[in-house]
C-alpha cells in the first residue's frame, strides 16, 4: 500500500517498524559492547510516535544539551538516521573509552575537545551502522550511509532536523528510546529513523506487506 501520510499506517505496519527498531537497537548494543570491550546490557527499547512538541520533552526539554549524530541514507532507502544521547551519557562514554587508554577523566562541565568529539562520532557511526545493517538484513534492501555529522547543541535545535523531515508527511515522529548500561555507566540513547514515505513503503513491501 502506498501512503500519503504517516498517520495512514496500520497497527500491523507500526508493529513491524517497532520490531525492526528493536532488532536494530539490539544489534547496536552488541556493537557498543565490542567497541568498549565491556559487557553492556540493554533495556527493551521504548518506541513512541510523538508529536513534535513532545519530542524534545522526552530528551529532557528543548534546551537540554544533547549530542546528535546524523547520517544520510542512500541506495534502496532514502532519508536520514539520527542517534542522540544526553550530555552526561556522552561524557560517560568518553571517560570509559579514553581513560582506559590513560587519558584523564573529563569533568561534567567541561567542553568537548577534538578527541572527545571524534570518539562520539565513531560511536555514532558504529551504532548507526549496526542498526542499519540489521534492517538491511531483514528487508534484503541495500542501505548505505554517508559519513556521520555530529552536533552538540540544544535538543530542540538538533531535533528540528528530523522533525522537519517528518513534518513533510506527518505531525509526529517515530522515536526509539534505548538505555544501555554497564556497572558505572548508563547511556540513554535515542534513535530516529527518518526514511522518506517511499522508503517506508519499500520496507513494507520488502517484508511482503
Amino acid at each position: 500500500m502506498v501512503h500519503d501520510h504517516l498517520e495512514e499506517f496500520s497497527d500491523m505496519e507500526f508493529d513491524v517498524l517497532k520490531e525492526l527498531s528493536n532488532i536494530g537497537a539490539g544489534n547496536a548494543t552488541t556493537a557498543i559492547s565490542t567497541m568498549m570491550n565491556l559487557k553492556v546490557n540493554m533495556n527493551i527499547p521504548v518506541i513512541k510516535f510523538l508529536e513534535f512538541k513532545e519530542l524534545a520533552e522526552v530528551i529532557g526539554g528543548a534546551e537540554n544539551i544533547v549530542v546528535g549524530i546524523l547520517l544520510g541514507l542512500q541506495s534502496d532507502l532514502d532519508g536520514m538516521m539520527m542517534f542522540l544521547m544526553d550530555r552526561s551519557s556522552a561524557i560517560g562514554v568518553i571517560n570509559t573509552i579514553l581513560t582506559n587508554n590513560g587519558a584523564p577523566a573529563m569533568a561534567p562541565d567541561a567542553d568537548f575537545g577534538e578527541m572527545d568529539l571524534s570518539v562520539l562520532q565513531e560511536l555514532g557511526n558504529i551504532i548507526a551502522g549496526a542498526y542499519l545493517s540489521a534492517i538491511s538484513t531483514l528487508t534484503n534492501l541495500t542501505i548505505t550511509a554517508t559519513v556521520p555529522s555530529l552536533a552538540v547543541d540544544m535538543a530542540g535545535a538538533i531535533l528540528s532536523v528530523p522533525a522537519i523531515e517528518y513534518g513533510k508527511v506527518s505531525d509526529k515522529a517515530l522515536l526509539i528510546q534505548s538505555e544501555f548500561n554497564e556497572e558505572d555507566l548508563k547511556v540513554d540513547g535515542y534513535f530516529i529513523l527518518i526514511p522518506t514515505l517511499e522508503s517506508f513503503d519499500k520496507i513494507f513491501s520488502a517484508l511482503g506487506m
Binding site: 524534545a56 540544544m154 530542540g156 528540528s160
Partner: protein, 161 residues
C-alpha cells in the same frame, strides 16, 4: 509579574505587554515575530517548512512560512492590530549538521529563511532585525514593551536585536 508565553514547534501565539513570548531551541526552523511597537502587541510563529503547497500534509497552518505568517496576521488583527502597523524580527534557520552535499533535506534552514523573507515582503512587512543561519541552536524571547528580541545560544553571549 511577567508571563513568558511559550510557542512550540509548528505553533503560534500572541502576546501583549508586560508579558513576553518565547520559543526554545530553534534549529533549522525560524522564529518569526510580528509586532506593533505602539500598541505593544506581538505574535510569534515557529515555522518548520517553507511552503505549504509542496506537501500533502498541510493541515497545521503554523508549520509553514506561507500559511503560518498569514494565520499570525489574522490572529493579530483579531486583537485590533492593523497589518500596516506591523514590523518583523526573525531568527533561526541554522544548518545544524555539516554535510558536503547539496541535499535539500539539509539546506532547509536556508530555504526557510528565504521563504519567510519572501512572504513578509508580499505583505509589505519590513524585517527590522534578523539573526539567521550559522550552525547553532537559538532560544529567542521577545518583549513587546521594548520591541527587543533576545537570542540565547550555547556558549555564546546573549544577543539583543
Amino acid at each position: 509579574m511577567v508571563n513568558m508565553i511559550k510557542v512550540g514547534m509548528a505553533d503560534l501565539n500572541t502576546c501583549k505587554t508586560p508579558d513576553a513570548i518565547t520559543t526554545l531551541g530553534l534549529g533549522s526552523c525560524i522564529g518569526v515575530v510580528l509586532y506593533d511597537p505602539r500598541k505593544k502587541i506581538c505574535g510569534m510563529v515557529h515555522v518548520m517548512l517553507p511552503d505549504s503547497t509542496a506537501t500533502k500534509n498541510n493541515e497545521n497552518l503554523a508549520k509553514f512560512a506561507d500559511t503560518g505568517i498569514k494565520q499570525l496576521i489574522l490572529e493579530l488583527e483579531k486583537l485590533g492590530v492593523t497589518k500596516s502597523s506591523l514590523s518583523a524580527k526573525i531568527a533561526g534557520g541554522a544548518q545544524m549538521f555539516a554535510f558536503n552535499t547539496n541535499n535539500d533535506m539539509l539546506r532547509v534552514g536556508l530555504r526557510n529563511a528565504e521563504a519567510v523573507r519572501k512572504v513578509l515582503a508580499s505583505y509589505n512587512i519590513k524585517i527590522l532585525a534578523e539573526d539567521c543561519g550559522a550552525n547553532y541552536g537559538r532560544t529567542i524571547e521577545f518583549y513587546p514593551e521594548t520591541s527587543e528580541l533576545y537570542i540565547k545560544a550555547i556558549g555564546k553571549p546573549l544577543k539583543i536585536i
